[in-house]
């Protein structure tokens, strides 16, 4: 449900940058979404299709780059991918670690013409 508020923000940011670039049309929005955020691609797309008609972003491609969660073990320093239902370090079995990536949620760029 919070993807509605999120998508409104995405559209607003993208449109304001498109205007600054004096673009007529927004053709693509490139997003980066970390695995540890609770955002669902399909929902963002759904709301985007609902909100964008009548704006210069109508018909724009929404390109979502998912960033997998990676941790660094606090015991042995090993870097590893977070697996569902298993947060153990593959080297020393310590649970969890410092999050290296996976919490991103930003607009990387837009494509305009």
């Amino acid at each position: 449900m919070h993807e509605l508020a999120i998508t409104q923000n995405i559209l607003k940011i993208a449109l304001s940058h498109a205007e600054q670039a004096q673009a007529i049309r927004l053709t693509a929005i490139n997003l980066v979404v970390g695995e540890l955020t609770g955002f669902v691609d399909e929902s963002i797309q759904f709301y985007f299709d609902m909100l964008s008609p009548g704006t210069p972003a109508q018909g724009a491609r929404l390109v979502i780059r998912r960033v997998p969660a990676r941790l660094r073990c606090r015991e042995c320093g090993e870097e590893f991918a977070l697996r569902p239902l298993d947060w153990k370090c593959p080297r020393c079995s310590a649970v969890g670690g410092t999050v290296l990536q996976g919490r991103e949620f930003c607009i990387e760029s837009i494509e305009v013409e």
Partner: protein
């Protein structure tokens, strides 16, 4: 050169929630000017947010001047319950939105007389996903995890466990009746968030409320320095 529409890429790299974050920062400044501590209380529906609030009010009534901001999708049931305790309460109905956001909080703060307060507890909408990403201007993020919900919550909702300053494990009086491995839960939570404070309480019996309340007093003191 042909007169063809020119394609170009515009780099942005802007956090999608930056507009909310900015207002959250302003809320935070408003609170800091008067030395108020604001706590954002998050949990699933039914984990015991209102019960913990009532226990906390009971414990701290003589120590701190408190107010409550109640976030609900609809209804004023929780706010009515808190108002009976004779402390200031502001109800925010989100009208379907699954989380509170910084502009809503700004409006709520306008309705409170801030110089009369030490601590504001915000009861966010019952949800473990959406409230995490929308900062309100809070000093502390607290999550309640109740025993019947199961000890595998961190696997399912890692985001909230990374974001909180404390986890209150509620309904520990039910431990003999439901499967909940406290040690395993603690290991998962501290594995992801080593600085987190964990409290074990039962809002039903009152067990464990005192250390939690003491910690809140201590944290509120830090905001008043």
């Amino acid at each position: 050169m042909t007169q063809k529409s020119k394609q170009m890429q515009v780099p942005i790299v802007q956090d999608i929630l930056s507009a909310n974050d900015e207002i959250a920062l302003q809320n935070r400044e408003t609170l800091d000017r008067t030395g108020i501590c604001m706590v954002n209380l998050m949990a699933s529906p039914g984990a015991g947010k209102t019960s913990l609030l009532l226990r906390t009010i009971e414990s701290l009534r003589t120590k701190l001047r408190m107010a409550v901001i109640e976030g609900d999708i609809a209804s004023t049931v929780d706010a009515d319950r808190i108002a009976q305790e004779n402390i200031p309460v502001v109800q925010i109905n989100t009208g379907g939105q699954c989380h509170l956001d910084a502009p809503m909080l700004r409006r709520a703060l306008h309705q409170l007389h801030l110089p009369d307060l030490d601590l504001i507890i915000v009861e966010n909408v019952g949800n473990l996903i959406c409230p995490v990403d929308f900062h309100l201007g809070e000093h502390l993020n607290i999550m309640i995890a109740s025993v019947p919900e199961g000890d595998d919550k961190p696997y399912k909702y890692p985001g909230i466990f990374l974001a909180v300053d404390a986890v209150v494990i509620n309904k520990i009086d039910l431990l003999p009746y439901v499967h909940f491995d406290l040690a395993a839960f603690r290991t998962l939570v501290t594995g992801m968030n080593p600085d987190v404070h964990i409290f074990e309480v039962s809002c039903e019996t009152g067990v464990g409320i005192a250390p939690w309340a003491d910690w809140l007093v201590q944290q509120t003191g830090k905001c008043q320095d």
